[in-house]
């Protein structure tokens, strides 16, 4: 039980942090690091970066959503009000 709670907290924290992390990656100053005219395999670095972060966001959101769903299935009985 406790272990499950601990994991839940981890997932919830991740769910809270994710938008801020993605936001930070896509806003200046961080994005300016990759805003160089260099090419990687013929593709501008910035294009790879922005689409890469985007894909990363999709994958992370997917993983978090799946874990939260698992948690809901397991945890409904023990924690009816616990969504908040």
């Amino acid at each position: 039980m406790n272990e499950l709670d601990g994991r839940n907290h981890g997932v919830r924290d991740a769910a809270v942090i994710l938008p801020f992390a993605i936001g930070a990656l896509l806003l200046p100053p961080l994005i300016l690091v990759f805003a160089t005219p260099s090419l990687l395999a013929g593709i501008p670095l910035i294009v790879l970066y922005v689409y890469g972060v985007w894909a990363l966001a999709v994958i992370s959101a997917f993983l978090i959503a799946r874990k939260l769903e698992l948690r809901e299935r397991v945890g409904v009985a023990e924690d009816p009000s616990g969504v908040g």
Binding site: R12, P19, P44, G84
Partner: protein, 906 residues
Amino acid sequence: MLHADFVIASCLIYVAILFSVAFAGDRKARRNPGGWLSSPLVYTLSISIYCTSWTFFGAVGTAARDGFDFAPIYLGPMIVFTGWWLFLRKLVTVGRVHQTTSIADFISARFGKHSGLGALITIVAVIATAPYIALQLKALTDSYQVLTHPAGAIAASSTILEPNYSVAFWLAAGLCSFAIIFGVRNLNVNEHHHGVIAAIAVEAVVKLVALLIVGLWVVISVRGIPAEIFANAPVSLMRPADTFDTRWVTLIILSGIAVVCLPRQFQVMVVENSSERQIRTASWLFPLYLFLLCLFVFPIAIAGLNRLPAGANPDLYVLTLPLQEDRPLLALLAFIGGFSSATSMVIVSSIALSTMISNHILVPLALRFSIIPTNSTQSVRHFILNTRRAAIIFIVFIGFLYFWVSGTSEALAAIGLISFCGVAQFMPSLVGGLFWRRASALGAFAGMAVGFLLWLYTLFLPSFGGSAIMTAEVIAQGPFGLEWLKPHALFGLAGFDPLAHAVFWSLFVNTALFVTISLITEPTPLLRLQSTLFIDVFRRQTESELRVIRRTARVGDLRQMAERVIGPRDAMELFSNVPAGERAVVASDELLGQVEQRLASHIGAASARSLVSRVVTDETVSVQELKRLASEAEQIRAYSEELESKSRQIEEAAAELASANRRLREIDKQKDEFLSHISHEVRTPMASIRSFSDILLSEPNLEEERKQRFLAIIQKESIRLTRLLDSILHLNQMEKGQPYWEVALFDPDRALDQALESCEALAESSGVKLRRVKQGPPVLVLGNSDKLAQVFINLISNAIKHNTDAQPLVMITSVSDESAYEARIADNGPGIAEDDRERIFGKFERGSNAERAGAGLGLPISRQIIERFGGHLTLAASRPKGAEFTVRLKVARAPSDVLPLRRSVS
């Protein structure tokens, strides 16, 4: 080119498919509302109406002109959706629980069902959305005209075409009928527009597939080689650092706000939501949808720049590229994709806005001016449904009108972002309403109204590019030449992108007013109740749990009113629990709440409230409940603080307990030692007594002299034993605080001299010299002379007995002044070890190196006696040789000090 008839036929077939999907969806929903219709996939696809024709055509256009400038419009929503746990989850849950009908309903319900707020939001939404609808009509018309232009698409897209308004008109009419047929079938918004949503989902798939196919075709045509795809990329893509400026940040924030606040987004995301599962899936699926939609934006844009003539309109590359390469079917697919994105946006927007207009403007007005016909049960329903139909026609017509008036001007191109900024004015109230208890209706209203005006002034009106409403001169120099009022540099804030400038000012002032006014206004009971219901949505589910406001109404009146709005069948169901014969009986608070909630899902919370109020005969606010509600948050905080302080107290208590335990153990040890000492002290004289009596008994013929000596020893030891027992009892009594001697005024020096006398014999036998010194005048102290003498004897005899010096000496000094008397007994013996300095005052402690005669009770008893006299017995600070004990007593000076005391003891 494609023949117009062919294009129209294709469109009609496509529309027919949409109609049948919508019909099928509605029919299935009537039989089984669950199933695929409420699947997270369909839900996510419906959210993709965010991507209008502005995306479908415009993203490529923007990418071709400005590189990455197209992306933030999708990155903002992506971030908001991946952060669904923080905000969207709560928003959607509140909307679902409270059966919200629109964003206007949501905000007005939160702020005490404030009808003015709902009306304001509706007005802002209509003004911001109408041009957006016009933009869709223009995109549709443009794409149709380019596709069917007799001179070829390239030529068409390179020239400015006179819009074909008849095409636009028929399109608008068609969209109206679709929206009316599928959007206004039922009053109850909460029954969801399953048909529309199903059709929208199909359109979402069509536009994605169309764009993906065009993109894949472009990539394949250069054999997928990245270097070739990105050859001759837009300049800004090769100098990307310039892109990520204030505008980039503004666009990400603005689009993140818009994906929530746009009325159509709120409609599909919140109003049509039926479970948390849907939003959870959308949290990653919608970002994925956006990702796929944007995947080929650069390849298409670069291909357009490379292959099409320089003058070709980048906004139509998606359409003109296939035509250029002679792929008419691909072009038709692209056209259908654009058609899909435009039509779905117009349909959902008009439905969402019509609900808002009907619930927040027309119904309240009708209620106020008693326009609603009240003679039959069906008429109210029909009235409301008709207002919605009219509202749809009105909205689409306004859009068409806007398109017609603005014509070929550039005004439409930027309208998407301008519209975003308009609806962004809802955001502070929306967020504040969900998370901030103090947020008030007046604050929300003032913030939104001023934000709206600022938006109008700094962004919307200037977008007409110098029309009659706002001339070019005003834009350039400010009204009446007032520089600080320049729309694009308000209050001198110059040098910013006009959009960033407007977003900043409108949202900043909006938020500031919202917060400030909320802080200074006192919330109404209803507002407090609503704010708790919204903010604590995950803790409470129904209003009935909170009995803040108690209302009474006659059941009959209530039922009649409900029947008019929701129809007799639903009303019967709603009132099924009320016994038939009790129509005139007063309705319970719970029933009133249920009825109001049901009405709210039809006509919005504010209108429902005012409708119910008409039959309510009595309304009382429970101050106690209100207090409870208001202070709940504080209570929780206070509770946790209390817990903290409790746990601190417990910790302190535990520490105290531990130290008490330690002390107890020490006392226990002391007690053991005490008993051990007592035993030893008793056994020693007993041993002599026993031994000598043994001798006396076993030797009756003992010579007389010896016999006498032994008997004397026995006597002496018996007395010693008695004294020992006496002093134990004495000490015990004193510790219990029972003085048992008489108190009188006496000269302490006399007691000292008396003690000295008693000890002279002992001193002589031990060879110890006694020296007596006296300083100061004779004084009187209060106490018992015999007891003080006993203390002195004890101290002096100790000093004699423990003195092992070759020339043992004991100094007895007394010093007195008018306030204190001090006697010092000092010896030149071995002294007292540092460790023993306090211990010697404990019972039976005689210092570790002094296991000698004496019961070890002398010093503690002496100290007790002196303290009882109000004085102190102390051991002087370490000396090189010997020990010095000091007895310090207070001098009783005036007779007045003495007399009452004497009386008290007599």
